[in-house]
Symmetry: none
Subunit: 209 residues, 2 copies
């Protein structure tokens, strides 16, 4: 939004970086305040400047929001089923060439993705159909189906990531710059970290819900 477009890469110059940080932090907090005002919601932002100084914004305050978040953040797996994994390339012999294995994984990831997409489409449709939430029986079954797919997908990603971790150095050493040359982004986006929390009475009794 300035005289010219800047690449989304860390500003190298310390001075400029500090200026950018300051300006953008102000803007970010302003946006947060608007969001809180317009939508009457609780929000908290914590950011450490390049120099390490903490800045924060909170409505109604940082602690109340963080506390609320942490209190519900506890996880509780109640009888989670373990989805059966689909055939992988680990049938019989270990691959010496991890890269090859990784590529296979990626291929499988793709297929999994397709299934995932369908499962979600169904789940969504089902939920929409339920609308008021009366057809819970139907929606539940569909959602479960989707969940199996998704959980499996997630597990695979975790594994894949672990595999890649071991190769990261090599990759970085050889094509870091290549990887950095990116194509900014398009109009579309995707984000929204969210999660649901179960009720728990873990410690952290400092705040209450």
């Amino acid at each position: 939004m300035g005289r010219r477009k800047i690449e989304m890469k860390m500003v190298t110059d310390r001075s400029c970086r500090q200026v950018t940080f300051s300006k953008r932090r102000t803007g970010l907090f302003k946006k947060a305040n608007e969001l809180a005002t317009l939508c009457a919601v609780q929000i908290a932002i914590i950011v450490f400047s390049p120099g390490g100084k903490p800045f924060s914004f909170g409505n109604p305050g940082v602690e109340p929001v963080v506390g609320r978040f942490l209190n519900r953040g506890d996880e509780h797996h109640d009888g989670q089923q373990r989805p059966q994994r689909l055939p992988r390339d680990s049938g019989g012999r270990r691959r010496r060439n991890q890269l090859n294995g990784i590529q296979r994984r990626i291929q499988l990831e793709k297929k999994r993705g397709e299934a995932l997409e369908k499962a979600l489409a169904r789940a969504k449709a089902s939920a929409a159909a339920a609308g008021g939430g009366s057809d819970s029986l139907i929606s539940r079954s569909v959602e479960e189906m989707g969940m199996e797919e998704l959980v499996e997908m997630r597990r695979r990603l975790v594994d894949l990531r672990e595999q890649l971790d071991g190769r990261a150095v090599e990759m970085e050493a050889s094509s870091t710059l290549l990887l950095l040359s990116n194509k900014s982004e398009s109009a579309g986006d995707s984000r929204g970290g969210s999660w649901g929390g179960g009720r728990r009475r873990r410690s952290v009794a400092k705040w209450r819900d």
Copy 2:
């Protein structure tokens, strides 16, 4: 920034408010991601939707940032925050800023995956609850939220797959065919923000910076 200027007061219409929240939350997280990228700083945002659903953004994660904040106390407050003493500057200890694109993305995706797991678990639970004749009001909202989250998650996964697919070639080229002409073009993006949220272990009382 829209067709016309709007008053900075709570949007009365429920529906419009939800839309505004969704869009602005997206924008806010995007801004936060840019700030984190451009200035290489830690930042965490926690916001509860009008419906009470928690959303979060964090670089490198919500927990690390919040932990650091709570442990060290705060200094600057641009928002409403409880005043406190001014402890010594932390000295800014930033070092893990070198995660390459892929590794970082996967790491983030892992977190997203965990969040997804929760969302699904909740959706499932709500569906089950509804079927069991529990509070239909709550279960309905949870169900809807779950769907929304899942769709977003699906998008992220699909995006990730595409990214990985493009990177795979480079990876192979780097470790195996580095000797060959690595003429691969830029593939991938640059938004390495860490959308994510959600807790992990059962223990919520300890953080590591």
